[in-house]
Symmetry: C2
């Protein structure tokens, strides 16, 4: 006796969960439509109706799975929120197989234009938009410089982490995440730090 027919939103959710689990547990090289079908109870025909390729399914499954971990909190303090999220991101990349999986996907996408398109459409562009939206709000509230382009901050926080992931000359760890935030919020010039502490003292008086 087979299971009853499930609504397609439910099937979709279960397939994505199975795909994300499989990808994080075993990496892209062992990721096949057959195995996702077996794990999720959906047929291969159903999978190919919903996703054009295993790359597209893997990406969407990964995104669905890590979405909660990578949530950007909104406490009203944009520096604290970015710091919290960046710690979760670095932790995901450095302690789960998300790190090798993402490095493999970005690497493969350099010679596979369809994978690049899928990666950008289903992962990097929406993640970028989330962060930019949050920083734009903070900028409009006067927490960030009025002339700041939030897109550039994406490359100096998450992009900097991808750089250490892809070319591991230096460790990708919590200390690095903190330094990235500090460099942007405190500035790296010596006189800024002095000004900031002078002005903080002035305000405290």
């Amino acid at each position: 006796m087979g299971r009853g027919r499930r609504p397609s939103a439910e099937v979709r959710r279960e397939v994505l969960a199975a795909a994300g689990r499989l990808l994080l547990a075993e990496g892209m090289s062992r990721f096949t439509m057959e195995r996702v079908a077996a794990e999720s109870g959906a047929s291969k025909v159903t999978l190919y109706k919903m996703w054009p390729s295993k790359g597209a399914l893997a990406l969407e499954g990964y995104f669905a799975t890590v979405e909660t971990v990578l949530e950007l909190p909104d406490t009203g303090d944009v520096e604290a929120d970015l710091r919290t999220q960046l710690h979760a991101f670095v932790d995901l990349l450095s302690t789960t197989s998300a790190g090798p999986v993402m490095a493999g996907l970005i690497g493969q996408a350099q010679t596979d234009p369809e994978l690049m398109t899928a990666y950008r459409a289903s992962y990097s562009a929406p993640r970028r938009a989330l962060a930019v939206g949050r920083m734009t709000t903070a900028r409009d509230l006067g927490q960030l410089r009025a002339d700041l382009d939030p897109e550039t901050v994406v490359d100096q926080l998450w992009g900097a982490c991808y750089h250490r992931l892809l070319v591991p000359d230096q460790p990708l760890d919590a200390r690095f995440a903190d330094a990235l935030i500090d460099n942007l919020f405190r500035g790296i010039a010596a006189w800024k730090a002095e000004d900031a502490s002078l002005s903080r003292r002035a305000r405290e008086r």
Copy 2:
């Protein structure tokens, strides 16, 4: 009549120049030991004596060729020097085939541990060391925050550019290079900019 026997330092220099030219003109997929031999006048045997693989030769040739373009000036003003160099770097990546070549090398290195080792040893680590050395000097001269880790700035300047090169969601151009420097030297928080301009006005009085 063959040419007379050349000193090996000269051969080495000519082979590297030929390798760099070939790589930048036609990319990695058309790069072969045969073609470098033909272009440089050295024999394939000589090439294999000097470099273990075509990847190693390509990298060293690239490095030798772009070394002058990517020189980090030393005018005594670290912000101006980093800005000058970053403009040259972005220009190289976005207007020559250095961009696709580097993206292809980093991409391929994700599944080729020997290429990764060669890339790090002959390109990314020495480039990183140059920048870190310059920033360490500037920090010791009091131009950069005393508690700054210069390694992290490498990822927030050049790493941010590699991020846009590898995942081209946003343009890699001169405006981006300027924003990266501004974000780090001015900070991204609104109150820093105010403090800085207040303190600049105070100093000007």
